[in-house]
């Protein structure tokens, strides 16, 4: 399977989502089955993790408050990235910052060092991060910041630039700001801020709250994908995909590529199963390419 995007081609419509991948998880998968592996968000300086516990299984979803724990851009480029490149997958690098300058500096360092690496196909901008210059409110809530930073990044990077939006703020405002800034794809969307208490009514996360992922996020982001799809752009769905039905639902709602995150923890082989089902369905529908498949699925959705 090959999928032509505006700046590159991918081998599959499946994207592994930021913060949910490791070399051990990739060892279960074949590079041909995965379009893009988006690595954990990096920032300019190393970032400490949040206090324990950092994760909780709700049964119908998962809460995490890992925070933007990472080694910082320089350590990432020199120590972490080489280990991933050995594995033969295509990658996206997710970046974030706590100020305009930080964001731009991370993008600059990454763009410079990955310029000639063929397996790095995209930068992903994670705007679910507090802007310390604006009193700590998230970049995602400020379309003018999304627009400014996206255009700064796209000026210096030749590959795909994807913007990952937040499910909390206005979808169309975020998407328009990103596209206007030159984004080639929109990831819809990040986790939803939430909390939970255990049986003794203690907060289950050390940080007090975190992001909701997994099946509970699917109906929320399915609607967000539907909203975003009113604008012509590449949409990468994110949230709760753990079955072929979920994959197809996002396609029907307007997604072009589909992300998988939390479900990898329970079943790292899930992407292989989804690709198999997709191939056999394409065969039975007698469609030759993924773009033809998209049209067929969406036509069926409209007929209903």
């Amino acid at each position: 399977m090959t999928l032509k995007l505006s700046k590159t081609t991918l081998k599959s419509p499946l994207v592994l989502l930021s913060g949910t991948v490791s070399p051990q998880i990739l060892s279960f998968l074949r590079p041909d089955s995965i379009g893009l592996v988006v690595l954990k968000t990096i920032t300019l300086k190393p970032k400490e993790p949040n206090p324990e516990p950092r994760m909780w299984d709700l049964g119908f979803g998962v809460l995490n408050s890992i925070g933007l724990f990472n080694l910082g851009v320089d350590n990432f480029i020199s120590k972490e990235l080489p280990k991933y490149l050995e594995l033969g997958f295509d990658y996206g690098i997710s970046i974030s910052g706590f100020s305009r300058d930080e964001f731009i500096e991370v993008a600059r360092r990454v763009s410079q060092s990955v310029r000639d690496i063929e397996n790095i196909k995209a930068l992903e901008l994670n705007f679910s991060c507090p802007n310390v210059e604006k009193g700590g409110i998230q970049f995602a809530s400020q379309p003018e910041e999304i627009n400014y930073l996206t255009s700064e990044v796209t000026r210096n990077f030749n590959g795909e630039v994807w913007v990952k939006i937040s499910p909390v703020y206005d979808v169309l405002e975020q998407v328009n700001a990103a596209i206007d800034g030159g984004a080639t794809g929109i990831v819809v969307a990040n986790t939803f801020p939430s909390t939970a208490f255990d049986r003794s009514l203690r907060n289950v996360l050390g940080a007090g709250s975190g992001g909701l992922s997994g099946p509970a996020l699917l109906p929320i982001n399915l609607l967000n994908v539907k909203k975003a799809s009113s604008i012509k752009t590449l949409i990468i769905a994110s949230g709760g995909v753990d079955s072929f039905h979920a994959f197809k639902s996002y396609i029907a709602a307007g997604a072009n590529l589909v992300g998988i995150g939390t479900a990898l923890f329970r079943n790292p082989l899930l992407p292989e199963h989804l690709i198999e089902e997709l191939k056999s369905e394409m065969k039975s529908l007698n469609v030759g390419s993924f773009s033809e498949y998209l049209i067929t699925v969406r036509r069926k959705e409209e007929e209903k």
Binding site: Q24, P53, V62, F69, A263, R266
Partner: protein
């Protein structure tokens, strides 16, 4: 990290029985053969309608059968306790790094509660190759059980918090006393967080390496999610699921063993 890639497979319940109050022994036959685990490695299980797998120590591995000993703690362990013979659950393993104890010939094993689980496998593999003494602590006698293999150890002390055995208190309270005649060249401790914290003063009194097995919440057990990050004494972090679960206590910052 263990070089062997873990298998992900369904496994059939061959045996499930209560061994002590709230504690069950589960024997599983993996459908795909599992590579032989090293002592202190673990597996992750999934059963029922949960999003995440749960980590459990390898408590035994013989002729392709995996033994897990678990305590009912919450939702999935409640469901595991009601499994029926022949039912299938999902198994992934072996996970974690092998703990290299090869140079220690006199090992003092200190287990708190269900922390006995990984030692059962360790004893079965090592009882003939090195001298091992066990201090096993539980809340009350009903929560302890006895395994044949304990008789082959060089020493065995059962400590209860309520004094229902001959030794009253916590297992850590007895480390100095037992060491005075057993002379261990390493102490290995597996138990709840509070027990690991109470260990710190003892390490100042005894000049041998202390190893602890950490059990932070593990979301993926495959180094991806970051829920199990542990702080080292140099301020950096490692993932307990891939670099551990066993660590030399000296390598950990106090933060690493604190909640």
């Amino acid at each position: 990290m263990n070089d062997l890639k873990p298998v992900l497979t369904d496994a059939k319940v061959v045996k499930l029985q209560g061994v002590a109050k709230g504690i069950f022994e589960l024997l599983l036959k993996p459908e795909i053969e599992m590579p032989e685990p090293q002592p202190f490695q673990f597996v992750s299980l999934h059963y029922g309608s949960f999003q995440l797998r749960r980590p459990f120590s390898v408590a035994g591995f013989k002729e392709g059968l995996l033994r897990v000993v678990f305590k009912i703690k919450g939702r999935m362990t409640e469901e595991l306790a009601s499994l029926r013979i022949g039912e299938k659950i999902s198994l992934m393993g072996p996970l974690g790094s092998a703990f290299d104890y090869s140079k220690y010939k006199r090992v003092l094993a200190v287990a708190g509660g269900i922390g006995i689980a990984p030692f059962l496998y360790f004893f079965s593999k090592e009882v003939n190759s090195r001298d091992i003494s066990l201090i096993y602590g539980v809340k009350t006698l009903e929560e302890a059980w006895y395994e044949e293999i304990f008789t082959d150890l060089k020493g065995f002390l059962l400590v209860t918090e309520d004094g229902s055995s001959n030794y009253y208190g916590y297992p850590v309270d007895y480390i100095i006393q037992v060491s005075s005649y057993f002379n261990p060249d390493a102490v290995v401790v597996v138990g709840p967080q509070a027990m690991l914290e109470s260990l710190i003063p003892v390490t100042f009194q005894l000049n041998v390496p202390f190893f602890v097995s950490l059990e932070p919440y593990m979301g993926c057990s495959l180094g991806a999610c970051g829920s199990c990050l542990v702080k080292l004494s140099d301020g950096t972090y490692v993932k307990a699921c891939t670099e551990g679960p066993v660590f030399d206590l000296k390598r950990l910052s106090m933060g690493g063993v604190q909640k």
